[in-house]
Amino acid sequence: MSRLLHRGARIQLLLHASLACLSVIWAYPVIWTLTNSLKTTGELYSAPWSLPNPPRLENIANAWMQGQLGLALLNSAYVTVVSVSLILLFAAPAAFGFARLKLPLHAVLGLAILVPLMIPSEIIMVPLFVMFRVLGLLNTREGLISLEVASGVAFASVVLTTFFRAVPRDLEDAARIDGAHSAQVLRHIILPLAGPGIAAVTVFESVFVWNDYFGPLILIQKPELFTVQLTIGNFSNFYATDQVVLFGGLAIAVVPPLVVFALLQRSFTDGLTIGASRY
């Protein structure tokens, strides 16, 4: 028996050792970016493996000023907050209706809402661009927001419907007997009880909108409207000769999402796993 335990402990030790090695490899690209952002150009070339000595914050400051990252972060935050709010505003009532629809409408509309999930946005980018140009929505935050809302709303409705269905019907019936109408049922019964669903949708839609590169790339050309992703995408071209500033910019782009993830990691893994097919 003691030999068995001993063997078990040895295996655990081996497992931890190999996972720790893999973790270091996995984290290294981020660590490398962060340490590089604190180096001088000389250090970057002469000592690619070593730590910055002494660490300097001037690259990050330079990247912030030259790359207008503050403005880009604000643009991204604005677009994300408005888009995700609108997605929830459209999707929650739709899910409420969906959860109550009966055959035959239920089957027809249930299938119809799945169609957008099968169509990648790459397939409609050209006609969408033409349409947005005619409507004067190119180079506007409103245009970008409407694109983000449209590409998120179908999936959000589908996910919310499954959460709304799980709310016991008895609660709703009781409220209706007390004289509540549909909007009140949705606000006071369904939404509070489907909290985890709302949280999951908020997480994956926020990550999706914040991280989206394709939408802004097509719709936004004006630098003052750039989102973080566009700015970062352009950084490599602008600062190809001043790499430490580039790493400063990358550090600014990489750290905030990682911090938010570390604080909310459970709801992130759950939300993003539910939101898988949105990617």
């Binding site: 497992l15 931890h16 190999s18 996972l19 893999l22 973790s23 996995w26 984290a27 690209p29 981020v30 490398w32 459209f90 999707a91 009532p93 739709a94 209706g97 969906f98 109550r100 629809l101 009966k102 409408l105 509309l109 809402i113 957008p116 099968m118 169509i119 990648p120 790459e122 397939i123 050209v126 006609p127 969408l128 661009f129 349409m131 694109l147 449209a150 590409s151 709303v153 409705s157 914040w210 991280n211 989206d212 590169y213 394709f214 973080v228 992703q229 566009l230 970062i232 995408g233 490599s236 790499q243 580039l246 790493f247 990358l250 782009a253 990489v254 999402p257 990682l258 938010v260 898988a276």
Partner: protein, 303 residues
């Protein structure tokens, strides 16, 4: 039975009321999805730069895409090759990490967090970081390979036609493997412990337990991973656009990057849209194929 006569009317009335809740979403989708698809269909039959009225050319664009465009064929080849290798690596690495983590008795959380962390980063950030990891002189990979004596520090994997696509694969696997690990870990929790205990009493070793219990019972999860990977890679654009813009010499050109350059660099709007519909056909075909083969096998195991 008493209600039989009144029920259909009540259902219709209730349906009509609930329809009101659903309508706004469909109105939105009609405007930003159905309309572009329909106008895209018309665009794909024209020769047009998008601004002036185009010239109707019938199926000419599609004929050119399928028979006459070598670069497009290369893009399709790259996309399919990338998809196949991505499927193997994503299931492989995802499953390997999941198996290792699931065997750990205490302290799984930090590993889960570290492997999942890249999922929350944007393609633009991941692409840029990895682009510079392959940079000559100071790049992480370049230095590591040079230290092993495999390449020169002055070279870059992204600059060579034979390695560029697979260098991007590194970024892709790094970004998504942890996601698949979380899916597989969820799947492993659904396998009853008794199966393993019974197998151990019968004297089955770790490898046999994996082959005869873990792998078959995880097939539905493998189906999910394969499907999501395929949907993601067939349309892949961001990493390529950030890291190489499809170069060198179209070595990393994918269908989506080629549609983008055709439309917005060469302003062949109509032709680009016909390429987009070819991509849609490919996505539909592969999704159907995967559903028919993998899902059937997965269901057999579960059912």
């Amino acid at each position: 039975m008493v209600f039989a006569a009144t029920k259909p009317r009540r259902v219709h009335l209730e349906n009509a009321r609930n329809l009101l809740w659903v309508l706004p979403v469909f109105a939105l989708l009609a405007g930003v999805l159905v309309y572009p698809l329909a106008s895209g269909l018309l665009l794909s039959l024209q020769r047009t730069t998008g601004s002036a009225q185009g010239e109707f050319v019938g199926l000419e664009n599609y004929v050119e895409a399928v028979y006459g465009d070598g670069t497009f064929h290369q893009a399709v080849g790259n996309t399919v090759a990338f998809t196949v290798v991505a499927i193997v690596l994503q299931t492989g690495v995802g499953l390997l990490l999941a198996v290792l983590i699931s065997e750990v008795r205490r302290g799984r959380l930090p590993y889960r967090m570290i492997f999942f962390a890249p999922v929350v980063l944007s393609a633009a950030a991941v692409g840029s970081v990895w682009q510079w990891m392959y940079a000559p002189y100071f790049g992480l990979f370049t230095n590591a390979l040079a230290a092993l004596g495999l390449t020169e520090v002055s070279s870059s994997l992204l600059a060579s036609q034979s390695t560029a696509l697979w260098a991007i694969m590194g970024a892709f696997v790094w970004r998504w493997a942890g996601f698949n690990t979380v899916i597989y870990l969820a799947g492993m929790q659904s396998i009853p412990k008794e199966y393993y205990e019974a197998a151990m009493i019968e004297g089955a070793g770790g490898l046999r337990r994996f082959r005869h219990i873990t792998w078959p019972l995880l097939l539905p999860y493998t189906y999910t991973v394969v499907l999501l990977t395929t949907m993601g890679t067939l349309r892949i654009f961001d990493l390529m656009w950030i890291m190489t813009q499809g170069g060198p010499a179209h070595a990393t050109e994918t269908i989506a990057t080629y549609i983008f350059t055709t439309a917005f660099r060469f302003l062949r709007i109509g032709y680009a849209q016909s390429l987009a519909f070819v991509l849609l056909a490919l996505v539909a075909l592969l999704t159907l194929l995967l559903t028919l083969t993998l899902r059937k096998r997965a269901n057999q195991v579960v059912g």
